[in-house]
Structures are given as structure tokens and as C-alpha cells.
């Protein structure tokens, strides 16, 4: 089970979980400075690049904002651990008896916890970080960034949710058995219009 899809701010800031406050600040400032320099050196930004850089800035700000404060950091670690454990528990039960009431109950509990975790640590606290004085000073974050970041963050959060679900037990649909070689042939025949209109 890969935990990296559950946003890991330590990894984003290039830190370990036992990193000290000084290292957190040092890494954040250096990474933000490098990022701003990278953006500055571009003559123009495509829409895709704009979204990408906004997300990176927002993640660095959020990582620093969350990890530098003891209470926020501990809550973040606790929530993350809870979601990972719930996923593991649900998967174990679903493997043995996918149709059981217990599997359904665990799925709902996990889904709620996951949605709460992603909403809080992918959106709410990220936007809150954008209003923190130190983050604003370091990153030059402004209302323009916040306006565009809301859309980008929502997109990223939902995409993450969807990516996490790709590896989870199926419940809303029976598990598909996909022959990807066959899929490739079907795609080729659709593109080359090798099928008659009714097929």
C-alpha cells in the first residue's frame, strides 16, 4: 500500500519526521527561493505551467505552516496515520468478505476520514497558509494567487482522491477484469475507424 498519495509534507520539504524547527524553516526558505527563481527565469508561463507552479508554491507554504507549529503538526500526523490505518483495516476485511456489513461500515468510515483529511490538509490549511504573514513575505503570495489556487487545489484534491481509489477495493462497481492488450487493439480500431457504424 503506497502512503505517498496521502500528502506528505515532510517529503515535500525534504525532511524527516523528527526534523527540528530550524531545519523546517531552512528547507522551506531555500526551496521557496529556488522555486521563485525558476519562475522568474521563464519569459512567459503557459496555463499548464501557471497551475503547476501555483500548486508547488501552495504546497511549500502549507508544509511550512503546518510543520512549524507543534499542534498543527501533531494533528496532521495523527489524521494521516488514522486514514492509513483505516484503509488497511478496510482492505483486510474487504478481501475476506467484500459484501459484509463490516466491510461496508469500514468503507464509509474510511471515506469520511479520507475526505476530511484531504479537505483539511489539501485545501483549508493550504489557503490558511497563504494568509500567514511569514509565508506571504517569503513567497509573495497575494490575492491573485489565492483566487487561482482555490481552483487548482480543488482539482488536485479530487484527482488525488480518484488516484487513491484506483487501488482500493471496488464497491460501487464489480471489479473489472481488463485485458490491456485487448484494450489497446480496441483503441486502435476506434481511432482508425475500422468498425462499421453499428459495431
Amino acid at each position: 500500500m503506497s502512503e505517498e498519495l496521502y500528502i506528505n509534507y515532510f517529503a515535500i520539504l525534504g525532511l524527516n519526521e523528527d526534523s527540528k524547527a530550524g531545519d523546517i524553516r531552512k528547507n522551506y526558505k531555500k526551496m521557496m527561493k529556488d522555486l521563485l527563481l525558476e519562475i522568474h527565469n521563464l519569459s512567459s508561463l503557459t496555463p499548464a505551467q501557471l497551475d503547476e507552479y501555483l500548486l508547488k508554491m501552495a504546497m511549500l507554504n502549507a508544509g511550512y505552516y503546518i510543520l512549524r507549529d507543534d499542534e498543527r503538526r501533531n494533528n496532521y500526523l495523527m489524521h494521516r496515520k488514522k486514514v492509513i490505518e483505516l484503509e488497511k483495516k478496510w482492505c483486510e476485511v474487504a478481501e475476506k468478505d467484500p459484501d459484509s456489513q463490516e466491510a461496508d461500515r469500514l468503507r464509509r468510515e474510511y471515506d469520511r476520514a479520507l475526505q476530511d483529511f484531504l479537505t483539511k490538509y489539501m485545501e483549508e490549511l493550504v489557503l490558511e497558509a497563504g494568509r500567514d504573514r511569514e509565508c506571504v513575505e517569503t513567497s509573495n503570495w497575494d490575492p491573485f494567487h489565492e483566487r487561482h489556487a482555490s481552483r487548482v487545489l480543488r482539482h488536485y484534491r479530487q484527482k488525488l482522491y480518484s488516484q487513491i481509489h484506483e487501488r482500493l477495493p471496488y464497491y460501487d462497481v464489480t471489479k473489472p477484469q481488463i485485458d490491456w492488450d485487448e484494450r489497446k487493439k480496441i483503441v486502435a480500431s476506434i481511432v482508425r475507424k475500422e468498425l462499421s457504424e453499428d459495431e
Binding site: 503557459t46 480543488r154 464497491y171 473489472p176 490491456w180 484494450r183 486502435a188 453499428d198
Partner: protein, 370 residues
């Protein structure tokens, strides 16, 4: 006391099979999911009647029943395991679990019929949408490598239109083209110089604007923007023709605007000359131009007059009918506070040439005011 006996209606298995087969053959995810809902007419405990005229759309006609697509779908839902699963879900209290194999067939049928939002929803439910998108992009790359631009365009277009808008509120939805909105954003700023107008941009900048506008995601555009310029040009031409089979109508309308464009630019040139000789700008420009005459330009471009008679309204309508038209038009002031949309592009723009767009009158090399 008399006991009331409840009789549940019985829906014959062949009707259930046909209803599901039709939804699958049509690539219709909405109907497919509807058939499982608590008030579905296929459920024994529902008060809805499948034989009612209002549900006739759920059942196939005789002609539909003869198509290979329907027969394949019917054979699938008639299979014992699928039939049993469907029956179980129709009797279940609570959210149904959709059967994967029929859903996959539905998604494939939807793609074949150009019902991309339906297909993307079905693939997303199966959690394979991103992989399917990648397969179409890969196929597009293979076709490009072989020089089959038309096939590459088909593949890229399908891949792009299978996109999901994860930023949609309150929940993710299939992304859909919104050219009428995108065109307004594209022309949000009034371009004061001819060289700034989209159709006059240097070719790579033009191609970048075009692909970012026509694809549903900048990420998709960036895939084609890495190709050599001549490939991008061919691809863009074919993409525009693929998106708009009636592109010739727009070309025809552009041709019709030429006489009025000539008059407009001649008029503007004379007024600039008179201002240079001492006339007042307010007299020549603010009060001078025959606005009613030149308002006909966007009307001819669209093919009809609309209300409101504003440049942005015409732009929205034209972009809806002919998505790529937004790349070949510009805003133009024709008085103190009146603007129109008119055709404007470099006569040497290779994309314009290949799309049969005619050379247009200009104000060059004389000085011009926009």
C-alpha cells in the same frame, strides 16, 4: 377484518434484458444508472410502470434490436452471471453495485458514438479513465509517427474529451468544451496593435494559443506543442476540420464581409488623414463613422442578427458554431463606444491558408488606429 394483500408487479426478464441492452448499446450511462435506482420501473417494488409511454425511450425499437451493437449488448446481459447480478441489485435495498463488464461495453459504445461525457463517467466509475486516456494519447503518438495526421487528431481529440474536471463544484464531472466562454477569455483584452491580434501572432505563438484554446486541458496541448512546427500546423488544420465539419460556412461568411471591411478601413484611413491635417478627433472618430453600416460585419460573419447587438454576444455565438473562428477574429472599435468583431489574420498565416480563409483588406502599411 380483511387483510390487504400486496401484489408486487412482475417485470419479465426479457424486458429487463432489453432495457439494459439498449442503455449499453446507446452508450447511455444516465439511463443505465437510472435502471438501478429505487424508483426504476424495472424494480418489482417500484410504482413506476415500464410499459408506460413515458418510459418507451428505455426500450429498443424493432430496428435497434437488429443492430450488431444491440445484439452484443443483449447477449452480454443475458449471460447467467450478469443476469443474476443485475437481479440481485434490482432486489437490493441500498446503493446498487454496477456490473463492470456491461459498464465497460457501454463506455466503449459511448466513445464510438462520440458521447464522450458518458464514456468518461463510465471509465471513471471503473477507475480506468486515466489509463484509457493514456492509451488514446499513445495511439495518437503512433499515428503521428506514421504520418497519419487525421487518425492522430481523432485519437488526441478522444483522449482530450475523456478528461474530468476535478475542480468542478460540488463534485467532479466530465470536462466539456466551452468554446463560447473560452473565446470571451481569449478576447478579454482589446488588442491595440495588429501584431497582437491572435491571427497575426508569430506562428509558434499562434499555435500555442490555438491548442491551449481548442484542447480541454493545457496538459493535452503541451503534448502536441513539442512536435515540429510543420506537424503542429497540419495537426491544427485537421483538428479544426474535425471539430467543425461546417467550417466552410464560416469561410463563406468571411468572404462576404470583405467588401464592408474594405469600406471600413478606407473610411478609417481617410479620417486619420483628415485628423493629421487638423480636423478634430472627436468629429472624425466619435461622431463620424457609420456605425449601423459596420454593425453588419458581425451579422454577416454569424449569418444572422442577434440581440444584444454587442461584439461579445456575436463572439459567443460564432465560437459556439465554429470553435476555431475565435482564432481568426479581433475586436475593433468603430466609434467612441461601439465595438464589433471582424475577421483579422495574417494573409501569410499557414493555418489560415490551409483552411481556405481568404486574404483580407488591411490598413498596412499606412498608420492605423485600432
Amino acid at each position: 377484518m380483511n387483510k390487504k394483500t400486496e401484489t408486487k408487479k412482475v417485470v419479465p426478464q426479457d424486458i429487463i434484458n432489453k432495457a439494459f441492452a439498449k442503455a449499453i448499446a446507446d452508450g447511455d450511462i444516465v439511463n443505465f444508472r437510472f435502471l438501478f435506482l429505487p424508483y426504476s420501473p424495472l424494480r418489482e417494488d417500484s410504482t413506476e410502470d415500464i410499459y408506460s409511454i413515458k418510459y418507451s425511450y428505455l426500450l429498443p425499437s424493432e430496428e435497434e434490436e437488429e443492430t450488431p451493437r444491440f445484439k452484443s449488448a443483449l447477449a452480454l446481459v443475458s449471460r447467467e452471471d450478469i443476469k443474476e447480478h443485475i437481479q440481485k441489485q434490482l432486489h437490493k435495498k441500498g446503493p446498487p453495485q454496477l456490473p463492470a463488464e456491461p459498464l465497460l461495453m457501454l463506455a466503449d459504445n459511448a466513445v464510438k458514438q462520440g458521447k464522450y461525457t458518458s464514456a468518461s463517467q463510465a471509465y471513471e466509475l471503473l477507475r480506468i479513465r486515466i489509463k484509457i486516456q493514456d492509451l488514446f494519447f499513445q495511439q495518437g503518438e503512433e499515428e503521428l509517427a506514421k504520418g497519419n495526421i487525421s487518425n492522430a487528431v481523432t485519437a488526441y481529440r478522444i483522449a482530450s474529451e475523456l478528461e474530468y474536471d476535478y475542480g468542478a463544484f460540488p463534485e467532479p464531472l466530465p470536462a466539456v468544451p466551452k468554446y463560447q466562454e473560452q473565446a470571451l477569455i481569449l478576447h478579454g483584452e482589446y488588442r491595440e496593435k495588429w501584431e497582437e491580434c491572435i491571427g497575426y501572432l508569430p506562428i509558434q505563438a499562434f499555435l500555442t494559443e490555438a491548442f491551449n484554446y481548442l484542447f480541454l486541458s493545457p496538459e493535452h496541448a503541451s503534448r502536441i506543442l513539442t512536435k515540429p512546427v510543420d506537424v503542429q500546423i497540419e495537426f491544427l488544420v485537421k483538428l479544426i476540420q474535425n471539430l467543425d465539419p461546417k467550417w466552410d460556412k464560416f469561410v463563406e461568411n468571411v468572404n462576404k464581409t470583405i467588401p464592408l471591411l474594405q469600406e471600413l478601413y478606407q473610411d478609417i484611413k481617410s479620417r486619420i488623414e483628415r485628423v493629421a491635417q487638423g480636423s478634430l478627433w472627436e468629429d472624425e472618430w466619435d461622431e463620424g463613422l457609420d456605425i449601423e453600416k459596420y454593425l453588419a460585419i458581425p451579422q454577416i460573419l454569424l449569418g444572422r442578427k442577434i440581440t444584444p447587438d454587442e461584439w461579445w454576444a456575436y463572439l459567443k455565438e460564432i465560437a459556439y458554431l465554429h470553435p476555431a473562428s475565435a482564432l481568426f477574429v479581433a475586436r475593433q472599435l468603430i466609434g467612441k463606444e461601439k465595438e464589433i468583431i471582424l475577421p483579422r489574420y495574417d494573409p501569410n498565416n499557414p493555418v489560415a491558408i490551409k483552411l481556405s480563409l481568404p486574404p483580407l483588406p488591411t490598413l498596412y502599411p499606412e498608420p492605423h488606429i485600432n
